[in-house]
Structures are given as structure tokens and as C-alpha cells.
């Protein structure tokens, strides 16, 4: 699996936690101590079950000699 940067992880966890908080069913078994959407999202990411990835772009080519 591709290695995510800390920013990508944060973004994915955030997006997933939002879904969970709005009632999406968790993709893992929720046991007693991971009750908040964020905890669940983190656990899901660790297990690699979140159906979200990132689109990585190469840096845009900048035109040289601009003002």
C-alpha cells in the first residue's frame, strides 16, 4: 500500500470521521474504547478499509521568466 504523508492521513481521517458522525456504518467492529468517529476513522485507516485514497499531482510546470 502506498505510504501516506501526515497531511494525507489527517485529511482522510477527517473525511471519514465526518461520514461516520453523520451516521455512516463503521467498517470495523466497534469495541468499547473507540467510541468517537475520529477514533473509529483512525482504526479504519490503520486497517486499510477506508474506501478513500488520495490523488497525487506532480507539481505544475511553471513558466519561466514571468514577472
Amino acid at each position: 500500500m502506498l505510504k501516506l504523508t501526515k497531511f494525507e492521513k489527517a485529511r482522510i481521517i477527517g473525511a471519514r470521521a465526518l461520514q461516520l458522525s453523520m451516521g455512516a456504518p463503521p467498517l470495523i467492529k466497534v469495541t468499547g474504547d473507540e467510541v468517537t468517529p475520529i477514533h473509529i476513522a483512525i482504526k479504519e485507516l490503520e486497517m486499510g478499509v477506508i474506501p478513500i485514497t488520495v490523488k497525487r499531482k506532480m507539481p505544475e510546470k511553471m513558466e519561466l521568466g514571468g514577472e
Binding site: 504523508t5 497531511f7 489527517a10 485529511r11 482522510i12 473525511a15 478499509v49 485514497t53 490523488k55 514577472e67
Partner: protein
């Protein structure tokens, strides 16, 4: 149980491409000194990889801001004491905060230009030869070797009274001075033991003054702009420190080690040796100044600053007239200084705002393309497909 040296080599060869060369060669060297078991070697390799990965900067990190803070914070702790004798006897060099400002502002001429001149290996340890080169470098004017100059309006002449002590110290003869003064236009030179008289044909105060200043400023020897030279023994070799800087001429002198000789005038380095050299000079000067104050700043911050200052081939200052003032985006420039002027001028010219940078997007109220803001999310199709199959 210990691994054979050949086996160790074979194993570390696998990670050669994964870590920086310097780390690899250090690992290689250290491992050649000790014996390790297989388990230990694996642990070492794993730890190296882990630490290297940890030290990498992740894409999206706000390196510019971190660099600015990393240099700004220590600057606040620097002592304001401008002048400092930097180890060398009686040589005065600007250090501390004023020096940092000077570097970052890319001033035309540093307030105290200095050079450090190294000598070629074969003569570096020879005191006499080093002295000879130092003598060739130090500029001597007539003014340096006279006690005073007298203007005589009656006889319409300027009399230079020589300082014998200085003459002896600098090994300059009377004849030498006379020879240098003879070409001055319309002047008749006469001399005796310790006096040189310059006869001026048409007697006027103005003319006398002119001749006097002209004669006093006459170079006798040495390189222009280098006012003073101090020699110091460092380890085995002699190193020459100068007050004043003229890299181009010093590098021409035979016996000077051109690979190590340096000046603290960054723009001069740019002119003589090019941008890459200027970039390195900025990094080294900034690092040395900070280190002298006992402050540790990671070299990568300084490299970024130096890169920003030199990207387009010339040395630009950080600030109004340089990096910040020449940003491509109108809004970014307007956010920095003189807002109205920038907006007005951009309007007249019909500039287009591309909204690529950070500042522009903050102003407009969009997420900035930095950190979490530059991540684009996408559905992961393969998971769905897997589920459908099942």
C-alpha cells in the same frame, strides 16, 4: 556467529540506493571496524532507515515558514553588540544581528569587508614567503608613509615629510615613491633625505590642494581596497586576514590557494565566481554568524533562504526590493507592503491573478495549497470491486 566482512558488505549494498551517500559511507566505515551478528546488522539497518525516513520533509510541509521562524527566533536572541574581535588580533568584523541583516538584505558592500586568504600547500608553512605575499596584497599609499604634507604657497610647492619608521617597516625606498609621483601632471619632483617636494607651476591654493590630495592618494604597492593585512598561524600553516576585499585581484597573485581563499562580500563572490558560489557563500556566512553566537540552526533552513535569494541567477534581497517585492501574484505583493500602490499598478497593467500561492488564497478565502489543504481525495475503486466479488 559474527558475519564475515564480505557478507556484511553484501547486505548493506542492498540499501545503498535508499539512504544518502554520506550516511552510507559512514555506515560502511563504521562496520569495517566492528564485528556484528546477523541480528545486530538487521537492527542497525532498520534503525538507519527509520531515522532517515523520519528526517525527510513530507510533501505539503510549509518549509518556507518554518525556515523563516527557524532563523527569526534565534536572531531575537542575538546580542546587539555589533563589533567583535573575531579571534584575530585587532581585526574588526561585523557579526551578530547586524551581519545577518546584511546577508539577508544582500547589501552592495558589507560594512566590514574582509578576506581570508589561504596559501598554496608548498609555501603555507613558510613564514617568510607568507610574509612576502602579505606584503604584495596590502595596499600602501603615500599617505601611509608620510608624517605630514605641508603646502607652501610662497614657493608654490607641496612638501611631503616622510615617516622613516613606516618606510622601514614596509620596506619602501624614497626612490620608489619619487618614481610613482613623477607622472603627476605638471609637477616637478625634488627630494632630499626625508622630504619630497612637488613644485607646482601656477601658484594657487586650489592647485596646491589638488596636487596634495592627488599625491597622498597615490598607490605605492599592493592591491586596491585592501587596507590592512594580518597574518596568523593556524595549525601549521599561515593564513592571511585582510581588512577590505578585492577577490579578483587577490586570486591573481601567485601562491594564493584559490580553492580556499574567500571573502565575506557576497556580491563580490557572485561577480567573480558566479551564483552557485554566491549561494554557498550566503549559507556559510549565515551559518558562521549564527554559530559564533552559539545558536544552532539547521543548515537546510539556510539553504532554502539562499536558494530563494539566488534562483534567478542574481543575488536578491529578502524583502521589499527582492524576493517579497517581486512575487508573481498581485495580491501577495499587496499583502506585503504598500497595498494600494500595488493594486493600482496591477489594475493599470491588467495583471491576472492566478491564485496559486498561499497568501492569495488566504485573502480570497479558499483553502490554501499547503499541508492538508493540498490533498485531494478520491474514492478507492478496488475496495468496492472486491466487495462486489465477494
Amino acid at each position: 556467529m559474527f558475519l564475515e566482512p564480505d557478507e556484511v558488505k553484501k547486505r548493506i549494498e542492498k540499501i545503498r540506493e535508499e539512504i544518502p551517500r554520506s550516511v552510507f559511507s559512514e555506515l560502511e566505515e563504521e562496520l569495517s571496524k566492528v564485528e556484528v551478528t546477523e541480528e545486530e546488522l538487521n537492527k542497525i539497518i532498520e534503525e538507519i532507515k527509520r531515522r532517515y525516513d523520519y528526517s525527510l520533509v513530507e510533501p505539503g510541509e510549509a518549509v518556507g515558514i518554518v525556515a523563516a521562524q527557524s532563523m527569526g527566533e534565534p536572531s531575537t536572541q542575538m546580542t546587539m553588540r555589533t563589533f567583535h574581535y573575531a579571534g584575530v588580533a585587532e581585526l574588526n568584523v561585523t557579526l551578530g544581528l547586524p551581519r545577518i541583516i546584511e546577508i539577508v538584505d544582500a547589501r552592495r558592500v558589507p560594512s566590514t569587508p574582509t578576506m581570508t586568504i589561504y596559501l598554496k600547500e608548498d609555501i603555507a608553512e613558510d613564514r617568510e614567503k607568507a610574509k612576502g605575499i602579505a606584503k604584495k596584497i596590502e595596499s600602501v599609499t603615500v599617505d601611509d608613509v608620510i608624517k605630514r604634507a605641508e603646502m607652501d604657497l610662497i614657493d608654490s610647492k607641496v612638501t611631503l615629510i616622510l615617516d622613516e619608521y613606516e618606510l622601514k617597516r614596509r620596506e619602501i625606498t624614497l626612490e620608489e615613491i619619487v618614481e610613482k609621483l613623477t607622472p603627476i601632471k605638471g609637477v616637478e619632483v625634488e627630494y632630499n633625505e626625508n622630504q619630497i617636494s612637488l613644485k607646482v607651476p601656477n601658484p594657487s591654493m586650489k592647485e596646491l590642494r589638488k596636487v596634495a590630495t592627488r599625491a597622498r592618494g597615490q598607490y605605492l604597492r599592493g592591491i586596491k581596497d585592501i587596507q590592512r593585512v594580518v597574518m596568523r598561524k593556524e595549525g601549521k600553516e599561515y593564513v592571511i586576514y585582510t581588512e577590505g576585499s578585492n577577490l579578483k585581484e587577490v586570486l591573481k597573485i601567485d601562491g594564493v590557494d584559490i580553492t580556499r581563499t574567500k571573502t565575506n562580500d557576497i556580491l563580490e563572490i557572485h561577480k567573480v565566481l558566479g551564483v552557485e558560489a554566491a549561494r554557498n557563500a550566503i549559507i556559510n556566512e549565515a551559518l558562521d554568524t549564527l554559530e559564533e553566537q552559539g545558536l544552532m540552526v539547521d543548515i537546510r533552513h539556510l539553504m532554502l533562504i539562499a536558494d530563494m535569494m539566488t534562483v534567478d541567477g542574481e543575488v536578491k534581497a529578502i524583502g521589499r526590493h527582492g524576493v517579497s517585492g517581486e512575487k508573481a501574484s498581485v495580491l501577495a505583493r499587496a499583502a506585503f507592503e504598500i497595498t494600494v500602490d500595488h493594486l493600482l499598478k496591477a489594475g493599470i497593467k491588467g495583471e491576472v491573478e492566478e491564485l496559486r500561492g498561499i497568501v492569495e488564497n488566504v485573502i480570497v478565502g479558499r483553502p490554501v495549497r499547503l499541508g492538508t489543504g493540498m490533498v485531494e481525495l478520491k474514492m478507492r475503486r478496488e475496495l468496492e470491486e472486491k466487495r462486489e466479488e465477494a
